[in-house]
Point group: C2
């Protein structure tokens, strides 16, 4: 009962080739026949068979998204916002997205095997990994499948395209801001440290302290992993250490939120006693009490640019790997005490 292109062509009184042209928006079809064919298609709710099309075009119109995040980070706001960015572009280009979500450490080989096995289904892949060195990357390179990373890789830099943000610069902005507001004992709750974003933010933090002749006190650095809970416990740990501090630069907004909660429980006032800066500027950063000063990274754009780049690569429009670094910017809110309530900047 399902009609195929042949049927449509017959009903419209044209050849299969012409009907195909209409469907694929080829220019050389007269207005009359085009209209005729479209009517028949419409009347019969015809939809071209995608498998057949894939077979001959060697294109699937599907993009893979590989996310190697632990659940704790998967549930952070970063992921859905990123997905939103990716989807914006895929939707525009009629691409579907095949999602691969791997919890690190869980059946690693099988995961990779499965991706490799189904790689034909995807015209290209967007990869976001927390762990810096992943066998995935090597496999992708070997498999010759177009892919774009969302983090700066540590190896094969000149063979891999990626879209990232200027984490180091952002971290510098954060710490500079804290210093300018008069803080001198600045703690850092790190991000995931086998993740390049986390490393870069830590590096930026160190850099600014050194530049200002402040010593980098290991007692002020607590390792966390970008999750809210880790921020909470890192802050508890920091408090337990009994060291003196007047500001906290958290690895991201999530961990900042956790840290804030821990400070509230310890009756420490933000920003009066301790200034707090996050990173990312996820939507909820503005909803915290106090509103969170943070480093904005264009998450949506990060996803969009990566996707657009990937599509260009698939289309053969990109000759050599592209490295895109999006800017970060300081967004000042209440948690660093600079603004009085009436001065709060609007979005």
């Amino acid at each position: 009962m399902k009609l195929n292109l042949e049927d449509i062509a017959r009903l419209a009184g044209v050849s299969r080739a012409t009907a195909s042209r209409v469907i694929n928006h080829h220019p050389n079809v007269s207005a009359g026949t085009r209209k005729k064919v479209l009517e028949v298609i419409e009347a019969n709710h015809y939809q071209p068979n995608l498998a057949a099309r894939m077979l001959v075009t060697q294109r699937t119109q599907i993009l893979g998204i590989v996310i190697q995040f632990p659940e704790a980070i998967f549930v952070s706001e970063y992921v859905p916002v990123l997905l939103r960015g990716i989807n914006t572009v895929t939707n525009e280009h009629d691409y579907a997205t095949l999602m691969w979500w791997e919890r690190p450490g869980v059946e690693k080989e099988r995961f990779l095997g499965r991706i490799l096995q189904q790689k034909q289904l995807m015209d290209g892949i967007i990869i976001s990994v927390t762990a810096i060195s992943s066998p995935l990357i090597d496999s992708m390179l070997e498999a010759q499948i177009p892919f774009v990373m969302l983090e700066r890789p540590t190896r094969h830099l000149d063979e891999i395209s990626y879209v990232t943000v200027d984490n180091r610069h952002g971290a510098r902005l954060a710490v500079e801001h804290l210093i300018q507001t008069g803080c001198s004992r600045i703690a850092h709750l790190t991000g995931t440290l086998d993740n390049i974003d986390g490393q870069d933010r830590l590096a930026g933090y160190r850099e600014v302290l050194e530049k200002h002749g402040l010593q980098v006190d290991p007692a002020l650095i607590v390792e966390a992993n970008f999750s809210r809970r880790s921020g909470y416990f890192a802050m508890k740990e920091l408090l337990a250490r009994g060291v003196d501090f007047d500001a906290v630069f958290a690895g991201n907004d999530n961990s900042a939120e956790g840290a804030l909660q821990a400070m509230k429980e310890a009756s420490i006032s933000v920003p009066d006693e301790v200034a707090l800066v996050g990173f990312d500027d996820v939507p909820t950063a503005q909803d915290l009490d106090p509103q969170l000063t943070t480093i904005r990274q264009p998450i949506v754009e990060r996803g969009m640019r990566a996707t657009a780049l990937l599509l260009d690569m698939i289309a053969g429009k990109v000759e050599k790997p592209q490295h895109i670094v999006l800017p970060t910017q300081l967004v000042i809110r209440r948690s660093t005490g600079v603004l009085r309530a009436e001065e709060r900047s609007e979005e």
Copy 2:
């Protein structure tokens, strides 16, 4: 350079048909030729072309997952845990998953159109919607595509398969427990109320109160939406109302967490002054301080069962729509004050 089945057959000295039999584990192939063919496949890293296979078998080996959640709920732990359950089964059966995530209210028609357009790519679909009435359901029924819902639908009950949990019973357990521990002014922070799960939990709450001759006080019911933030603000709202209460039954663990935070800020002790019960038993329920008494629903199993059912439907093993309701169970922890620390039950 890419080999096809023809090449493999030639290299192994057999016909294409025989090579195909080997690949598809057909029985009638002699051990010798099977071995031969497998060797050639192995040596050349041959992978069958999925598009061609799809074209002839009419199967894609892809499952669609449609999630209609706002971002706030998407980031709750429920989603990744559910996905984990689904993936467990799809992985076992070599199915890939195409994910469609819709933020309610955002370009609804286009979303539906896209799914319909690509429905051929999916052998079946798993649907989880917050909004009770969704045009999606009607479209799916009309499109004759096998699907399983993760919530009990309100219409077409006898045409739709679903896997849900006994929300109402769970809610009853929660409130009964609170009453047994001596609470009488029990507040409820509802779940999303245009969601059937949320409705059922509210209904269970009402039912138990009435059964015990306690009046259902509207002042004790605050609408929330399953997100942590909504729980936080709902609790603030409840406190602002100035009504007396000695227990809170939250729509889920996330909102319970938010409520807990609000109570901490208001210096209300849980469980000493107010007992708190959640719903879901997500992993972090045990990490809260105090650990959260909650109603456990088998989230992973919910995903697994739905997926398994869907695969059975696709295989034609299911003649009429199935309705699966998984049990819920009370998990008592510190937040209802029943257990002293040394009595805490282990998992």
